[in-house]
C-alpha cells in the first residue's frame, strides 16, 4: 500500500443491488421507451417502424448466419411480417416488450454470499463445490491465495476519497479475460468497493468464470447485437447504474489489446454514460453527487492468452475475430495452469491506479474537487449548463467531452504501466535482434535467421533500459517489489517466465547465449514497452 494510513473499506453498494434491480430495470425501460416514442414523432429513421424493423432485420441476419432454423428466427420473421400492419399502439407495445427483454438479458446479479466466498471468507466450500474436478481444485487452491498475488498500488487513497464522495468508474487497460477478476481482487485488497461491469456474453460460457461473474455484479454485453435499440438499452442501463451510485468498471479500449501495446486509441464505449449520468444528477439538483473516472493499468508478468492474441494481431485478423471464443480462456485446463503456475509467482499481477478525473477529463484535488488545466477549482456542473444556468442536452457536446476524457486516459496509461522481468528481457532481446537485422519490422524479423545473443549483452541492455525508465517516469516504472533486484536475477526470472508457461517457448537459455524460440511471443511482451523509443532514437 502506498501509505501507512490504513484505507478503510469503502461501502459495498452492490449489496443493495438485488433489492434495487427491478426498480433500475423499470427506469431503463421507461427512459428508453419515452425517448424512442418522442423521437418517433420526427418520422423517418426515428419512426418506431424503422426502429423495430432494424431490430428484426439485424436479428434475422444474425440468426441466419448462425444457421438457426427455427424458434428465435421465427419470432423475428413474424415481427418483420406484422410491422406494416401494426397500429402505433401495437408498435409501442412491441417496443416496450423488446426493451424489457433486452434489459433483462443485460442485467446483472449480486449475491453477497458469493462475494464473501470469492473474497476468501468461504474458501473451504471450494473443495465441496468442485470436488469432481481435480485439476480445477488445484487451481482453486491457488485461487484461495490469489489476492496475495495481486498487488494494487498508486492513488488508492484518493480513489477511496472519491468512492465516499461519489461514484467510481474504474477504467483499466485490457489485455486478458482475467482482467475482471484481477481488478476485482485488486479493488478488494485496496479496500475499495466492488464494481459492476459489462462482460462479453461469450465469457459466460466458461463455467469457471461465469459462476462468479453472474453473481458478482457483472452484466452481460452481447456484442453480436449491433442494432441501435440494444445499444440504447445497454447505455441507459449503465447510466442508471451510475446515477444510483453503483461503482462501475469499463474497459475503454473495448476488446482485449491484441498487441500488448499500452492502449492509445480508445473506443470509449460506455464511458460516455459518465457524462450523461452526471448531467442527470445535476438536473435532479444533485451536482455534488460526483462521478470519478479512475484510470488503472493491469500489468501481468505473463498473460494467459498471449499466444492467441499476438497470433491474431499479426495475422491482422483482429477485427474479424473481434470476439475470440477459442482462445486459452475457453480451456479450463489452461486457466488452472495459469492460476497454479503463473499466479503462484509473488506479485505476478500489479494493478496500478492513477489519479481520477471528472467526466470532462479534469483533474481533481485530494478532496475530489475538479480543477482545470491551470489548476483552478472549477464547477463540473457548469460543463453541462447553458447560458442561463439551465442543464442543456447536447449529444455531440457530450461525445466531445468523452473524447477529451479518452485523450486524458490514453495519455496517463503509459505513466501507470508497470514492467515485469518478462517485459524487460523481451525488450532487450527484441532490440538486440532488431539491431542485428537493421529493422524493427516484426514481419521482416520473423524471417531473420535464428541468432544467438550473448547473455552479457542482454544484461547490459537491461541495465541501460532500467536506468532510462528511472530517468523518464512518464514511461512507466518497474515492479515496485523488484526495484532493487539485481539485473542478473531479473534476467533469470524473465527467462523462466518466457520459457515455462506458454505452449511455445519464447526464449531458449543456452548457457552464455540466449536464443529466441518464438519471436511472436517475444514481440508481444516487448510491446508493453513499445512507447519507449529505441536507445539510439531517444
Amino acid at each position: 500500500m502506498a501509505s501507512d494510513r490504513p484505507v478503510r473499506e469503502a461501502e459495498n453498494r452492490l449489496e443493495h443491488f438485488n433489492a434495487d434491480r427491478e426498480r433500475l430495470l423499470a427506469e431503463v425501460e421507461r427512459r428508453v421507451v419515452d425517448r424512442r416514442v418522442s423521437e418517433a414523432q420526427q418520422g423517418g429513421d426515428a419512426s418506431l417502424e424503422y426502429v423495430l424493423n432494424d431490430v428484426a432485420f439485424s436479428e434475422i441476419k444474425r440468426l441466419e448466419a448462425a444457421k438457426q432454423k427455427h424458434g428465435a428466427l421465427d419470432r423475428w420473421k413474424d415481427l418483420s411480417r406484422r410491422l406494416m400492419s401494426m397500429s402505433d399502439r401495437e408498435k409501442e407495445s412491441e417496443l416496450h416488450e423488446l426493451v424489457r427483454y433486452y434489459g433483462r438479458d443485460i442485467v446483472g446479479n449480486f449475491d453477497p454470499r458469493v462475494y464473501k466466498f470469492a473474497t476468501g471468507i468461504g474458501p473451504s466450500m471450494l473443495n465441496t463445490l468442485f470436488s469432481p474436478m481435480t485439476a480445477v481444485r488445484q487451481g482453486f487452491g491457488v485461487l484461495q491465495n490469489l489476492d496475495q498475488r495481486i498487488h494494487p498500488d498508486g492513488e488508492v487513497e484518493l480513489a477511496h476519497t472519491c468512492a465516499e464522495r461519489g461514484t467510481l468508474i474504474v477504467t483499466p487497460t485490457h489485455s486478458s479475460n482475467m482482467d475482471s477478476p484481477a481488478i476485482g481482487l485488486a479493488l478488494l485488497r485496496a479496500g475499495l468497493p466492488p464494481t459492476t461491469y459489462g462482460a462479453g456474453k461469450n465469457l459466460f460460457t466458461n463455467p469457471f468464470i461465469s459462476y462468479f461473474m453472474r453473481n458478482l455484479g457483472a452484466y452481460r454485453v452481447d456484442r453480436r447485437l449491433r442494432f441501435e435499440l440494444y445499444k440504447d438499452v445497454l447505455k441507459e442501463y449503465s447510466t442508471v447504474l451510475l446515477e444510483h451510485g453503483y461503482h462501475s468498471l469499463f474497459f475503454p479500449g473495448g476488446t482485449r489489446c491484441r498487441s500488448n501495446i499500452v492502449e492509445k486509441h480508445l473506443k470509449l464505449g460506455l464511458l460516455g454514460t459518465s457524462v450523461t449520468a452526471y448531467k442527470n444528477n445535476v438536473r435532479d439538483g444533485m451536482p455534488n453527487k460526483r462521478i470519478y473516472i479512475v484510470p488503472a493499468t493491469i500489468n501481468y508478468r505473463l498473460t494467459l492468452e498471449a499466444e492467441t492474441l499476438i497470433d491474431d494481431y499479426l495475422a491482422e485478423t483482429g477485427k474479424s475475430r473481434y470476439i475470440i471464443t477459442d482462445d486459452e480462456f475457453s480451456r479450463v485446463g489452461r486457466i488452472v495452469e495459469f492460476f497454479r503456475k503463473i499466479l503462484a509467482h509473488e506479485g505476478s499481477v500489479v494493478v496500478r491506479f492513477g489519479r481520477p478525473f471528472d467526466p470532462f477529463g479534469n483533474d481533481i484535488t485530494d478532496e475530489g474537487d475538479s480543477i482545470d488545466r491551470a489548476g483552478r477549482l472549477v464547477d463540473p456542473a457548469s460543463f453541462v449548463r447553458g447560458a442561463n444556468g439551465e442543464v442543456s442536452d447536447d449529444d455531440q457536446r457530450d461525445a466531445e467531452y468523452t473524447r477529451a476524457l479518452g485523450r486524458r486516459l490514453a495519455a496517463v496509461y503509459p505513466k501507470l504501466t508497470v514492467f515485469h522481468s518478462t517485459h524487460l528481457v523481451a525488450r532487450a532481446l527484441f532490440d538486440a535482434l532488431a539491431k542485428r537485422a537493421a529493422t524493427r519490422d516484426v514481419y521482416r524479423l520473423l524471417r531473420y535467421p535464428q541468432t544467438e545473443i550473448p547473455k552479457a549483452e542482454v544484461l547490459a541492455a537491461i541495465d541501460r533500459l532500467r536506468a532510462r525508465i528511472i530517468e523518464h517516469p512518464g514511461w512507466g516504472a518497474e515492479h515496485p517489489a523488484y526495484l532493487n533486484q539485481a539485473t542478473s536475477d531479473k534476467l533469470a526470472d524473465g527467462i523462466k517466465g518466457l520459457s515455462t508457461f506458454h505452449t511455445r517457448v519464447a526464449v531458449l537459455d543456452h548457457g552464455e547465449q540466449l536464443a529466441i524460440g518464438d519471436l511472436k511471443l517475444l514481440y508481444y511482451y516487448s510491446n508493453r514497452m513499445a512507447h519507449i523509443s529505441p536507445e539510439s532514437a531517444s
Binding site: D372, R376, R385
Partner: protein, 326 residues
C-alpha cells in the same frame, strides 16, 4: 438583452473593436474587455477608440477593464489579441470563466514559443473545453466601413459553431461560415499571414502576373500538405481562412504585405518589429520541418526573414525544382 445574446470581446485592438462595432450595429449587445483604461474610457465616453480612430462606435458596444464583469455578462467570447500574449490573456481570463463559456479566438498565428495551435494554448489557460477559431478575410477597415466580409468559425463542438454563427452573423456586412476542421482553419489562418508576406515580396521584386499566379497555386498546394500533416483537412487552406485571408491582405494596408515589400528592397526587420505573418512564417517553417513536409515557399520566406537568403534567390524557389504531381 440576455447573457446568451451578448458577445464578449477580449482585447481592444483594431479587429476586436471593428468586430464589436459591426455586431453592435446589428443590434447585438457587445461588451469589450481591455486592460487599457484609456481605450475603455474612450469607448465609453467618446464612442471612439484610439486603436480605430476613424470609426464612430455604436452605443450598444460597451467596454470594461473588469474581466469578471465580462464573464458574468457574456457566455460567448471572442479573443482578439496578439499571438504573443494570448497565453497570458487566456490564463487571466480563465480566473473568471467556467465550463459553460464558449471561447473562440481570432488569432491568425501559431503561439510562441513552441508553435502550438492557439486553441491548444487557450485551452491550457481556460476551464472551458468549448473552444473554437474565427478566421477569414475581414479587415478592420472593411468591417467598420460596412464592406462585405466573410469569416469561418471552426470547432470540435457543434455548439460553438452554431452559437458563433447565431451571434456573429451580421449581414450584409459579415457572414460567418462553419467548419469542423479546427486544426485546419487555425493553421490556414496562421499561414495566410506568412503567405501574404510572400506576395508582398513577389510584388516588391516586380515579378509579373504569371509568376504571381504560380506562387499562389504553389502556396495552396504546399499549405494543404501541411494542413493534412497537422491533422487538418486538405481543402481547408483553399477556403476563407487560408486563400481568402491571404488575398484580402495582399495590399499596402496589411502590415504583412508591406513587410514583404520592404524585404524585397533589402530591408531586414528586427525580431521585435516582426508582424504576425513574419512570426507565422518562421513558426510554420519549423512545423513543416518537424512534420517533414516539403514547403519551398514558406521555408524560403522564413529564410529571407531570418536574413539567411537573398529575396531574389527566394523567388527562384517558387519554381520548385522537384517536379511533383499537381
Amino acid at each position: 438583452m440576455s447573457r446568451a445574446d451578448t458577445v464578449g470581446i477580449v482585447g481592444g485592438g483594431r479587429f476586436g473593436t471593428a468586430l464589436g462595432s459591426v455586431l453592435a450595429r446589428a443590434n447585438r449587445r457587445v461588451l469589450l474587455w481591455s486592460r487599457d483604461a484609456a481605450v475603455v474610457d474612450s469607448i465609453q465616453t467618446r464612442r471612439t477608440s484610439p486603436r480605430l480612430p476613424d470609426a464612430a462606435l455604436p452605443a450598444s458596444l460597451t467596454a470594461t477593464t473588469d474581466p469578471r464583469l465580462l464573464a458574468a455578462e457574456a457566455r460567448f467570447l471572442v479573443m482578439a489579441v496578439s499571438s504573443t500574449n494570448v497565453r497570458e490573456r487566456a490564463r487571466e481570463l480563465g480566473n473568471y470563466l467556467d465550463g459553460s463559456h464558449i471561447v473562440v479566438h481570432a488569432v491568425g498565428a501559431l503561439a510562441t514559443p513552441n508553435n502550438e495551435r492557439v486553441s491548444e494554448v487557450v485551452g491550457e489557460g481556460l476551464p472551458t473545453l468549448k473552444i473554437g477559431v474565427l478566421a477569414g478575410p475581414a479587415l478592420p477597415a472593411d468591417l467598420v466601413s460596412g464592406e462585405y466580409a466573410s469569416m469561418v468559425i471552426a470547432s470540435n463542438f457543434e455548439e460553438v459553431v452554431a452559437e458563433g454563427r447565431r451571434l456573429l452573423n451580421a449581414p450584409p456586412v459579415l457572414r460567418v461560415y462553419s467548419s469542423k476542421d479546427l486544426a485546419g482553419v487555425e493553421l490556414a489562418s496562421a499561414l495566410a499571414g506568412a503567405y501574404t508576406l510572400a506576395l508582398g515580396l513577389c510584388d516588391g521584386l516586380g515579378m509579373g502576373v504569371g509568376p504571381r499566379a504560380v506562387l499562389v497555386t504553389r502556396i495552396v498546394a504546399e499549405a494543404s500538405r501541411l494542413c493534412v500533416a497537422a491533422s487538418g483537412k486538405e481543402r481547408t487552406f483553399a477556403g476563407l481562412a487560408g486563400l481568402g485571408n491571404m488575398l484580402v491582405r495582399a495590399t499596402e494596408r496589411s502590415a504583412d504585405y508591406a513587410l514583404g515589400r520592404r524585404l524585397a528592397d533589402g530591408v531586414l526587420t528586427a525580431d521585435t518589429q516582426r508582424t504576425e505573418g513574419a512570426r507565422a512564417a518562421v513558426a510554420g517553417a519549423e512545423l513543416a520541418e518537424t512534420l517533414r513536409v516539403r514547403m519551398p515557399v514558406l521555408t524560403g520566406v522564413a529564410a529571407v526573414i531570418n536574413g539567411k537568403l537573398d529575396p531574389r534567390e527566394a523567388a527562384l524557389l517558387i519554381g520548385d525544382t522537384v517536379a511533383i504531381e499537381e
